[in-house]
Amino acid sequence: MGLKIIVLAKQVPDTRNVGKDAMKSDGTVNRAALPAIFNPEDLNALEQALRLKEKYNGSTVTVLTMGPGRAADIIREGMFRGADSGYLLTDRAFAGSDTLATSYAISCAIRKIKEYDVIIAGRQAIDGDTAQVGPQVAEKLSLPQITYAEEIFSAENRKITVKRRLERGVETVECALPCVVTVNSSAPDCRPRAAKLIMKYKHARTATERTEQPNEYDTLATARPYLNIREWSVNDIETDAKWLGLSGSPTKVKAIENVVFQAKESKKLTDSDSEIEDLIKELIVNHTIG
């Protein structure tokens, strides 16, 4: 039996390749200097979803993302790798959301999507590293959750079996569907974009994209409905304004400090056993090792 799978994905600045101008002088991220990419662990999540789709005939994978208009790229990226469709949740009302407001908006969108068997997300995004949105979505939808997933073994008979990668080992757990699964970077990398899917979906766009930058391929969407990326604003989902955006975000950034790592002190040792032993003891005492 086919599964209805929702993958939560986020467009993030590529903080892995940080150059000198990555931060502005006021301590905020200089987004213009960093390319926007598919959050790496969300790609691990997508791969798990695509494997389920291959395993269970008739399954569908839908990518759900929240962000500005350009985040439609994330949905196209997902389709190039095998996702069937996507939703872009975009509205000024969502601007300034912390994890709580984000998970609220996303959970409202999922309620609207209504039919789903499993929601898969990356463990955390590389811009905030909070690992909160996945679990919060689960709570808001009153769904069980499996975090730190590395491999989904099966999802049949309304039950999912998942291997979790924990700090000191692995465990295999079972859970009733529907549920939320968040995936670690230790899970297999996502498959590459597929040439045929790129060519099939490259003209997929949101209504806003078509209005703002019309092109000659827009008419194709009439005969090929899969080229329409669904775009939801705050009015398309049921929400309570006070939980949205800045007002729904209790997180307040007090200050951001630029930290430059440098060696503060250095020590020269001779190669005598006693000095090396002393160093080991010292490192154990200050908890650097052990």
């Binding site: 498959r191 590459p192 040439a195 899917l197 790129i198 060519m199 099939k200 194709l220």
Partner: protein, 568 residues
Amino acid sequence: MNFFTDNPDLLFHLRHPLMRKIVELKERNFAEKDKFDYAPVNFDDAMDSYEKVLDVIGEICGDIIAPNAESVDAEGPQIVNNEVIYARGTQENIDALRKANLMGITLPRKYDGLNFPIVPYTMAADIVSRADAGFVNIWGLQDCAETINEFADENQKERFLTRVANGETCAMDLTEPDAGSDLQAVQLKATQNADGSWVLNGVKRFITNGDGNIALVLARSEAGTKDGRGLSMFIYDRNHKAVIVRRIENKLGIKGSPTCELVFKDAPAELVGSRKMGLIKYVMALMNGARLGIGAQSVGVSEAAYREAVSYASERKQFGKPIIQFPAVYELIARMKAKLDASRTLLYETGRAVDIYKTYMHISEERALTSDEKAEMKYYQKMADFFTPLLKGMTSEYCNQNAYDSLQIHGGSGFMKDYSIERIYRDARITSIYEGTTQLQVVAAIRGVTTDAFLNKIREYEAQPLKAELQPYRQILIGMTEEYAQTVRTVIDAKDNEYLDFHARRLVEMAGHIIMGYLLLLDTDKEERFRTSADIYIKMGRAENRARAEYIAGSSVDELAFFKQTAE
């Protein structure tokens, strides 16, 4: 890392003005746009698709294939139960390319291919070769499918091409212990059963990816014959399990690519096309495709060698500064780049010619060509016939020179396994040997010299409009052309075939220097950044040609005797 986007020269060659014609022919005016959801609707759409797909290849090369190259080289393939098991990295590379639909790039869509022209496919090979020259051999054998597509019947195409497009690999089983450069001596026996089916018996040697899923096999179908006219082409399907891999060669380079000795024991096979046409028609087509492929491989390896040289010479400091600042080093590097740019521009010029004539050939099976179309097909076919051996010969030699110079720049470090130039140097060596040695490419290309085919093409380049400031380069090339034409006359006027053979390589290289000089000049006319390479290459070519002309002018038919002594 993305090996496509980090090299703007690729996009420059991809966007050549002739691509419009190529794409429109290849797509039959976009006839499949409503039949396949991934077919382009117009020219720009097709070009955009090529770029996007090359971007994926560039990413796979940068993130997977190149990082795997070292371990693949060290680990190599092995034989387990008479079958080939690839190195772990090789299998990972294949899996990634299969998932990305990149195993049947030029095949028609009805067989699950992408229907790309030769040019973007060649570009993919250029990129993959830069990442791992050994791996490109396995992946590039999808060329065999192109031959099946040209000559097999519809039923065979449906069965085999779809499998290739979905990721099965190929092999091209030509060479035997006593039939290398001279394929007329092939002995592998094809016997026809009473029911009309065929079986193969015998040994093949030096077969790249010999355990591939689908093999094209050259075999002697006409018992009692001794020459090429007794040979036919067969398809052997690995699923029959009637071929044993007896040994994998232990090679100097391209170690990830399994080079196999195969034993056929009553192996069931299917005839491709007509009997007796195996060597004279089908292998020739197969070889021309493969030679273009080696051209791409040579360019990709040259690119890798050049990049390693620049990166090492910029970081390595001696006498208080990076060694790239010393004339002895920067001259080497600039010459490497000039040879690389010259090789690449010839590669795509040849690729475009192949694209046009092959597409016309396929179209001629669907409808009668107009007389203009026929003339055009002939023109480009002739051009491809002469340019392909020129390309293979010249670029594989440049590839070796660049690998040599790059290692030289690395000094002692380059001799160690710690730097990838050590592997690149070993990998480069085969390019001027297989699919016909440089000496054999000269044998094919020399007719381009004697029939004036190269000279006529050079005159066409000469007549192209050019910015005023580039005229001095044209003057140099015109001078080189006069010298070349005169030297060719001298050799031909001696009316001695052995004397012509003796100087053939020099003459072909003279033509090559002029042709690549013009191509670089025309590139510079469009993009200023090629000027450095054009300047260096044209002046280097002038000096090289002068030396050859001098050598030839000072030689005589009688003098061959001195050289011949060693042969007696």
